[in-house]
């Protein structure tokens, strides 16, 4: 076959990621920053550059992003999305108002212009659903009072992404041309239609796709998702957004079974995705953006914590619960990386991706660590507020 070299490299990559994943589960850390770091080490200008497996990893990464978004959509039903937006739109708007501007302004300050500003605003706005969900269950906080606020915020962010990515695509494609706006308008219309039709359309489709055989169901769901994503990409709509929508539309037994079947596939390809992002960033580009990345991380850690705090307070939750909510939401991850990758693919200056990688690296590590000290962090505020109520 003559593929020996490819197989050896691929095996080594997977084994390397496996070691990192073990390290992550030992320490309770998210895997995303570790995979990114591994990619950096093996990429262009890294310690041991990959030669032949590069192309395979690239395709795997594409599938990884599609599966990440598909599985995210699978978690929610359309009616759940609509009712969450109704109930929590204020917190959602606050989240956007507090966490988009830091990225946007940073890009302006660095002299990268407003288009890159929209990219970086997206990077700092969106929390990592994957990291937050994992840390939430690791900490045993599912039953807490602030948890509905945290989960609703994530849902709204994911939905904003479905609207944001096509707009960003149009912005990057060519400033202002009427033709470049068409895909954006198209995907926004698709999202709106889907939510308007809410529960009605999904039942039939899910029933057609369902099969009792795991094998046929796995192939059907995977085939439909990748086909729709590819088709959307051909029409200039983001494949990731299309996958998200397919996930939202699927429901009932087909969705439940797909969740079980596709989780291992998602884990495999998502690991390749993060490693690939690391691979495509030249480590030499990181040091120059390190200072802005850390500054941005500190600022948006605070703005995100404020979002959680205010959102929780609106739901009648106290200072400690609010601190937990805020610190949970501070972690940025897969979406921020996806946005930066999207921008790079569209031909934006490579520094954005380097900055995003460094930024996510900082927040994906410090977020979950700070969460463990939520009690200590909130202690001074708790004392002050009890003193106030006493006095």
């Amino acid at each position: 076959m003559g593929h020996a070299e490819l197989l050896v490299e691929l095996g080594a990559v997977l084994l390397g990621l496996a070691v990192l994943s073990r390290l992550a589960s030992r320490t309770g850390m998210p895997t995303i920053p570790l995979y990114l770091a591994a990619g950096l080490a093996f990429g262009e200008g890294g310690l041991v550059p990959l030669v032949t497996a590069d192309e395979f990893v690239e395709v795997g990464a594409e599938i990884g992003l599609i599966l990440l978004l598909f599985m995210l959509g699978l978690e929610y039903t359309a009616s759940e999305l609509v009712s969450t937006i109704r109930a929590q739109r204020r917190v959602g708007l606050l989240d956007l108002a507090l966490n988009f501007p830091p990225g946007f302004l940073a890009a302006i300050a660095l002299g990268w212009g407003p288009t890159v500003g929209v990219v970086l605003g997206g990077v700092t706005y969106v929390s990592s659903s994957g990291i937050v969900a994992k840390v939430l269950s690791d900490q045993g906080w599912t039953g807490n009072r602030e948890t509905p606020v945290v989960l609703s915020t994530l849902v709204i962010e994911d939905l904003v992404m479905a609207l944001y990515l096509p707009v960003l695509g149009a912005l990057l494609a060519g400033a202002g041309g009427a033709a470049s706006l068409l895909p954006a308008v198209g995907s926004i219309a698709a999202v709106a239609l889907l939510l308007a039709a809410a529960t009605r359309i999904d039942v039939g489709i899910s029933r057609v796709l369902f099969s009792r055989s795991d094998e046929s169901l796995l192939l059907t769901i995977l085939g439909v998702t990748i086909l729709v994503a590819g088709g959307a990409e051909a029409f200039g709509v983001s494949a990731a957004v299309a996958a998200l929508l397919v996930g939202i539309v699927l429901s009932g037994p087909a969705a439940e079974a797909a969740q079980g079947l596709l989780t291992p596939m998602r884990d495999l390809f998502a690991a390749l995705f993060f490693a690939f992002v690391g691979l495509s960033v030249d480590p030499a580009t990181i040091p120059p953006v390190l200072v802005p990345a850390v500054l941005l991380a500190v600022v948006t850690l605070v703005t995100k914590a404020l979002t959680g705090w205010i959102g929780a307070a609106r739901a009648g939750v106290g200072v400690r619960g609010g601190t937990r909510a805020g610190l949970l939401l501070a972690a940025r991850g897969e979406f921020s990386i996806a946005i930066a990758g999207f921008a790079t693919a569209a031909g934006v200056a490579a520094d954005v991706e380097a900055l995003a990688v460094a930024y996510v690296f900082v927040l994906a590590i410090t977020g979950p660590i700070l969460v463990r000290f939520a009690e200590a962090i909130s202690a001074p505020f708790v004392r002050r507020s009890t003193a106030e109520t006493r006095g």
Partner: protein, 161 residues
């Protein structure tokens, strides 16, 4: 029964919370998968809940039965069986009832239908064994004891006067 608060947990299920008579707060997370988790509030932080139990759908049904879902009905049936012909019922006082705002004595329910008012349930509170000068408000429930026929008459008495 305490007031139950219900909040959606997108992607997970629904979260319920209520306060027990002893002042503890109990949380129940009902997962979409059918898993039920029971949480109890930690004393020092009212918003933090510790997981106590995880129950499969079957476990949840068993526990519900042990905790009295069937026992309450059983006890009422026992009582009604012991005194043949005795019926216990809850009657709502609607806002258009002629007795909303009047006293128990004003209804002359006992003398007109033979039915006794043994308690008035008002929101979270209850007035047990109310005297004739206790006022009946719209939205209250009258817990009444009597014959089936008498209770039917009491229903129309509350509605039409």
């Amino acid at each position: 029964m305490g007031e139950i608060q219900e909040v959606k947990l997108p992607g997970v299920g629904v979260r319920y919370e209520f306060e027990t008579a002893e002042g503890n707060r109990i949380g129940v997370v009902s997962h979409r998968t059918g898993l039920r988790e029971i949480y109890a509030s930690r004393g020092d932080d009212p918003d933090e809940f510790k997981r106590v139990l995880g129950l499969s759908p079957d476990d949840a049904r068993t526990l519900a039965e042990l905790l009295g879902a069937t026992r309450v009905a059983q006890q009422l049936a026992d009582l009604q069986q012991r005194i043949e012909g005795l019926v216990i019922d809850w009657l709502p006082v609607r806002s258009d009832s002629p007795y909303a705002g009047k006293t128990v004595g004003d209804t002359r329910m006992r003398s007109r239908t033979g039915v006794s008012v043994v308690a008035i349930v008002r929101g979270e509170d209850a007035v047990p064994a109310p005297g004739p000068d206790v006022r009946v408000e719209s939205g209250d429930y009258l817990v009444v004891v009597g014959t089936a026929r008498g209770i039917e008459e009491a229903v129309s008495l509350l509605r039409d006067g």
